[in-house]
């Protein structure tokens, strides 16, 4: 009997592949939102599995705010090159021209202009009708009820009062005029699932997830990495070298690091099970929570 038992991780894998294939088959012009983080790495790996031996039938889209860690950008370009991926990079040029940045404009406004608006622009520009992303339900309370196929009205607006019932793995992919879909194949994965899967499948991730000596500045108890000379140091302040890593990656001036000695995936997993803090705790200035997630999603945020 045990021969036919499928472990929870292989179930998750199968479920995700099913969802990705469904999105590829049901929509005319889908895209995979690639944020370079660990979840995106897993998502990309699953997508490649889903279509093997064929190539990915859709492009990747990265919204570049201009403030990502340099190592993230290098990793992104290397992955795209090695795997021969069709990678589209989009930046909100209006925002860039006006130099909208996290220091002068605050996390909220910066995120709105450089992420939310940028994403809307890119989806409209390429006429993508479905965007496949790596969000997980366990990340945050308001995500816990998100659909796997999440319907967006014209203008990308998310109407929480008008979400479709979702049963079994029978997904409603029907689009009315002007509407689009966000698709979340990793909905049922937890942070731990992601790391264990990265380990057993040997999936490459950005080195920032592993501890190393890095230049940091401490602000209100949060460690920020001084990734380039645009970081606004206080008068007399000097970055100090500390052994740190990141649990989540985003824009460097908004991502808090944790002190750590974990240099391998199993060590990261060990630290994670020993830690009794949530993944989001590291992000004190969490640009995803600057305003309520609910409001941002209404505006078209991922």
């Amino acid at each position: 009997m045990t021969r036919y038992v499928v472990s929870h991780l292989r179930r998750l894998e199968a479920e995700s592949i099913h969802i990705i294939r469904e999105a590829a088959a049901a929509f005319e012009n889908p895209v995979l939102l690639y944020s370079i983080g660990k979840d995106s790495s897993v998502l990309l790996h699953l997508a490649q599995k889903a279509f093997a031996p064929a190539k990915l039938p859709f492009p990747l889209l990265h919204i570049d705010t201009g403030w990502k860690f340099r190592e993230m950008i290098a990793f992104r370009d290397e992955v795209a090159r090695q795997d021969g991926l069709d990678l589209r990079v989009w930046t909100n040029e209006d925002g860039r021209r006006e130099n909208v940045n996290p220091f002068d404009h605050g996390a909220q406004r910066y995120t709105h202009v450089m992420k939310t608006v940028a994403l809307r622009q890119a989806l409209d520009h390429y006429r993508f009708d479905a965007a496949i992303g790596g969000a997980r339900r366990d990340e945050e309370a308001s995500r816990s009820k998100e659909r796997v196929f999440s319907h967006r009205g014209p203008g990308h607006e998310w109407d929480p009062k008008n979400q479709r019932a979702e049963l079994w793995n029978v997904f409603n992919t029907h689009l009315t005029k002007g509407a689009s879909m966000r698709v979340f194949p990793l909905s049922n994965w937890t942070e731990l699932d992601v790391w264990v899967y990265i380990e057993i499948e040997s999936i490459p991730v950005v080195p920032l997830y592993f501890a190393a000596e890095r230049p940091v500045a401490e602000r209100d108890g949060v460690l920020f990495m001084v990734d380039d000379d645009r970081f606004r140091l206080h008068p007399g302040e000097r970055p100090v070298m500390r052994n740190v890593r990141f649990r989540t990656l985003g824009c460097y001036p908004l991502s808090g690091a944790v002190e750590s000695t974990a240099r391998t995936v199993p060590e990261v997993i060990d630290e994670m099970i020993a830690s009794s803090w949530s993944e989001r705790q590291g992000r004190v200035i969490d640009y995803e929570e600057g305003v309520s997630m609910e409001d941002k999603k209404r505006e078209g945020y991922f």
Binding site: M1, Y4, V5, V6, S7, H8, L9, R10, R11, E13, A14, E15, I17, H18, R21, E22, A24, A25, A50, F51, A52, P53, A54, R137, E140, A141, S142, S144, K145, H151, P160, K161, N162, Q163, R164, A165, E166, L167, W168, N169, V170, F171, N172, T173, H174, L175, T176, A179, N188, T190, L192, E199, P266, I269, D270, S276, W277, S278, Q281, E294
Partner: protein, 453 residues
């Protein structure tokens, strides 16, 4: 074994919690998560009031939204022990409960039904148990909560158990477990209660970790709905899909449905066999015509092929179901138009009685006959949850209007069907005679009220 090795081998149990409002669902879920040490420190701190964890607050993502007037439906929560990983589907009780409960139940192996020991079996208990059974949940746990309010009395527990058994005999649920509980103190949730020694069974978590679900899996009927066809660089063709049930091996002779052409399996994504619920890409030894929406099955064990479907529907749209109206039907990878020909009856979920109906409104459940515009390969839901399920989509709004569970057509039609069926026929007849809608409604209402005794 390393942690990673142990972790990846964990089994998965998906369960839901339901029961009457205020019977202690939030408290129980909170207890389960906290006592199994699944709640991060920062979340726990945030949910403390006067140094005590407020369990309702812990699950607050939803409550806050409720206050903002946002539709709350199913929220999913995750936790694990050393034995299993759990996905909880949490459907808060409110007016749209049937829709939400059906949604939550559709993917669950087990349902925990909370019963207030003081109140006993009430309407909601019966309603929730029925929906769980309808959606194919085979394992129920009746959590008799607030035992502290009835002096932790074994007699009271037994009374409730007998009352429930009498009702549950009419449900198709094989495994019902009763657990006396005090969710507020955690007795028999994770820890065994020291004050109810008369109870010889396991605490809830223990049960969730050990309940036998492996045999729920259908390994007999191979069903592989085709999602898409992949092409390798060498021109090879790979049939991609998720195995809905059964086992497929290299060399098996399969039938492509609905065309019923046959071929042998020549390869399965680098394996010699695969089984549900794995997602695979297989190659066939012959260049047969196969595309999205088809289904592969073993030649000597094929599903029903028909345009006509008998099904139970849970109606989910504010717009009532109209007989004769066209909807989009989504079944596995098939999307096709379909018309509901006949509403045979509506079910009074609380009393488990049928009554005549001409339409189904939101949150109503009824039996219908549907005619699809193409042939579909399906099984009865009771035999196959994956190939027996479908949804109806409203073309105009795009919403999921109904969830459908296909019935076994072999089973004799129930007595009550005859008059109902003729009622619909009478209605059509009257319309054919050119009677106006109001008069038809008046006449059919009179007939319906007579039938409904």
């Amino acid at each position: 074994m390393s942690f990673v090795e142990r972790y990846q081998e964990l089994e998965l149990l998906r369960f839901m919690t339901c029961g009457g409002v205020d019977h202690g669902k939030s408290t129980l879920l909170g207890r389960l998560l906290v006592d199994s040490r699944s709640v991060p420190e920062d979340h726990l701190e945030a949910a403390k009031r006067n140094n005590e964890v407020d369990f309702a607050m812990l699950l607050d993502g939803l409550r806050a939204e409720r206050e903002q007037g946002i539709t709350i439906d199913v929220a999913y929560r995750y936790f694990r022990t050393n034995k299993r990983k759990f996905i909880i589907a949490d459907a808060p009780g409110h007016e749209q409960y049937t829709r939400n409960m059906a949604t939550a139940a559709s993917n669950c192996d087990l349902a925990v039904v909370l019963v207030d020991a003081g109140e006993g079996i009430i309407e909601q208990t019966r309603r929730h148990s029925f929906i769980a059974a309808l959606l194919g949940i085979k394992h129920l746990v009746i959590a008799v909560n607030k035992m502290d309010l009835v002096d932790r009395s074994e007699e009271r527990f037994d009374t409730i158990r007998r009352a429930y058994d009498a009702f549950a005999a009419r449900l198709e649920v094989t495994d019902v477990e009763f657990i006396p509980m005090v969710a507020a103190t955690g007795e028999n949730v994770v820890q065994r209660s020291a004050q109810m020694e008369w109870y010889g069974g396991r605490p809830l978590l223990d049960h969730l970790e050990n309940v036998h679900i492996a045999s729920d899996q259908n390994l007999i009927d191979l069903r592989l709905p085709v999602q898409l066809i992949l092409r390798g660089d060498d021109g090879s063709r790979h049939v991609a899909g998720t195995i809905a049930s059964g086992v497929v091996r290299v060399g098996d002779e399969v039938s492509v449905l609905p065309s019923q052409t046959t071929a042998r399996v020549s390869g399965i994504s680098h394996r010699s066999e695969a089984f549900a619920p794995l997602a695979v890409a297989i190659t066939l030894d012959r260049d047969v015509d196969v595309s999205r929406g088809d289904m592969l099955a073993h030649v000597r064990n094929i599903p029903t092929l028909s345009r006509e479907i008998e099904a139970m529907l849970v109606w989910m749209s504010a717009e009532p179901l109209q007989q004769g109206r066209e909807y989009l039907l989504q079944h596995c990878a098939v999307q096709t138009s379909a018309v509901v020909r006949d509403v045979r009856y509506c079910i009074d979920v609380t009393e488990l009685r049928h009554h005549a109906a001409l339409e189904l409104r939101m949150n109503e459940i009824g039996r219908v006959s549907i005619e699809a515009s193409r042939r579909i390969a399906f099984d009865a839901y009771s035999r196959n949850r994956a190939t027996g399920a479908f949804i109806l989509i409203d073309r105009m709004t795009g919403e999921t209007a109904a969830a459908g569970m296909i019935l076994d057509r072999e089973t004799a039609p129930e007595e009550v069907l005859t008059p109902v069926r003729s009622l619909a026929a009478i209605e059509k007849l009257l319309a054919d005679y050119g009677l106006d809608a109001d008069s038809i409604e008046e006449i059919t209402a009179i007939i319906a009220s007579r039938l409904d005794r």
